[in-house]
């Protein structure tokens, strides 16, 4: 379905048809060639990171503002790929571990190998969480008192878990990384981060 949509979008944008409204495309061959020529010193296993998956390709094409049908298709596919903990394991883990993960921006830069620590969620780079932490970014919305504001409801615990695992299941072309889907964070880490956002004991909700 998505492959077909990409083809339609690309072909339509070349033809300049109404279907391609909002699409920003140029000769993709030129772009792919330039990328290939610009990382000649990189190791082959690293070049994989420059290849786009369908979602990245569509979000680039539409500059994060895809038409409704494509947005719906992205969300459905990303949602279907979310993995959950084994039956009987709570979606909330240990908020204290989650707090450390929210502070850490470590992982997957070429200077981060061989790994010296686990990957971090780096939540504070973009979100306010614990209101006592003053060094927070504003690329994402404030999550201070997020759980408390929602009365710590189970449905919201699940929504937060899914949002961290794959934000594009809820919002196509969201800026936030798909931290679970990409394997950047483990299910265990996402449970800990869910607890940090949603647990009544977490400083986020104090």
């Amino acid at each position: 379905m998505l492959r077909a949509l990409i083809r339609v979008a690309v072909v339509a944008s070349m033809a300049g048809s109404a279907l391609a409204q909002g699409a920003h495309d140029l000769d993709r061959g030129a772009l792919d060639r330039a990328i290939k020529d610009s990382w000649r010193q990189a190791q082959p296993e690293w070049l994989q990171r420059l290849k786009q998956d369908d979602t990245q390709a569509l979000c680039s094409l539409y500059r994060n503002n895809p038409p409704a049908d494509i947005a719906a298709a992205i969300q459905a596919r990303e949602k279907a790929a979310i993995k959950y903990p084994a039956a009987g394991v709570a979606l909330m883990g240990d908020w204290k571990k989650g707090e450390r993960l929210a502070q850490s921006g470590y992982g997957m830069r070429f200077t981060d190998y061989p790994p010296r620590a686990e990957n971090g969620g780096n939540c504070f780079a973009c979100h306010q969480l614990d209101p006592k932490e003053l060094s927070y970014g504003t690329l994402g919305p404030s999550l201070a008192a997020y759980g408390k504001t929602r009365n710590f409801a189970d449905a919201d615990v699940k929504a937060v878990y899914e949002r961290i695992y794959n934000p594009q299941a809820a919002v196509a072309c969201a800026n936030m990384p798909r931290l679970g889907a990409s394997g950047f964070l483990s299910l265990e880490q996402i449970r800990d981060l869910t607890a940090y956002v949603m647990s009544p004991e977490s400083p986020v909700n104090k």
Binding site: D37, W39, R49, S60, F110, C126, S135, Y136, G137, F184
Partner: protein
Amino acid sequence: MIVRKRLFCAVIAGLMLPAAAALAAGASDDATERELEKYRQMLKADPWSNPGMLDVDRGEALWGEKRGPNKASLEGCDLGKGPGKIDGAFAELPRYFRDADRVMDLESRLLWCMEKLQGFEANALVKRPYSKANQSGTELEALTSFVASKSNGAAFAPQLTHEKERAALALGEALFFRRQGPMDFACATCHGDAGKRIRLQSLPYLSQPEEARQVVGEWPAYRVSQGTVMTPQHRLADCYWQMRLPLVDYGSEVTVALTMYLVNQAKGGVIATPGLKR
């Protein structure tokens, strides 16, 4: 006049240490930014107190020195305005060069001249184009700082008459919005909206000309936290590093195209290098 050592030691002793301490603490970026602003004001009063001017000076000496296997200076290097013409050249780069049949920015052009005129091995030069923290600048950094400073006060005037220049701009724009890598990042993720910050660091909205005009002309810049000059190529390579992508080649088509996009966004913005950054 080659070496100008003037009272900047005193300025650094007074201001850089508190700034560095604040950076190490990682908490009070606001305070750091205030100290930097004071520092910038002092630099305006006395531009030669900018430590980046050491690289400008070294670059000036390197430009005129007969070097390399061919024992040639760079005075025959054509940066777009004719051989040896440096004044205002940086303001009109990147541009198309017929001899190379491609669009080049200042750094890829310097590399070209060092190879073709002086006989240096380009592959060896690009292995280590960037200095490490607290080391003096590489030759490419010094030369870039020197040539860029010769456009200080001029406004960016992007060259888009040649077809390949327009293609570079289109490519740069597409790259700016291209999402990729394990974090799905594009340049636009951090630089596509107004008034945003990452932790406490303000992020320029580079797809908007008003903000681009204010910041693009500050590169190459002296980075207080690193104690080195950072060139535009290095700045872009660092963004790709942060985006979890492999190290992009120095002077690559991608980084030259992104430079073309940024310079076009900053069209009319006044060049003031080396800027001063944390």
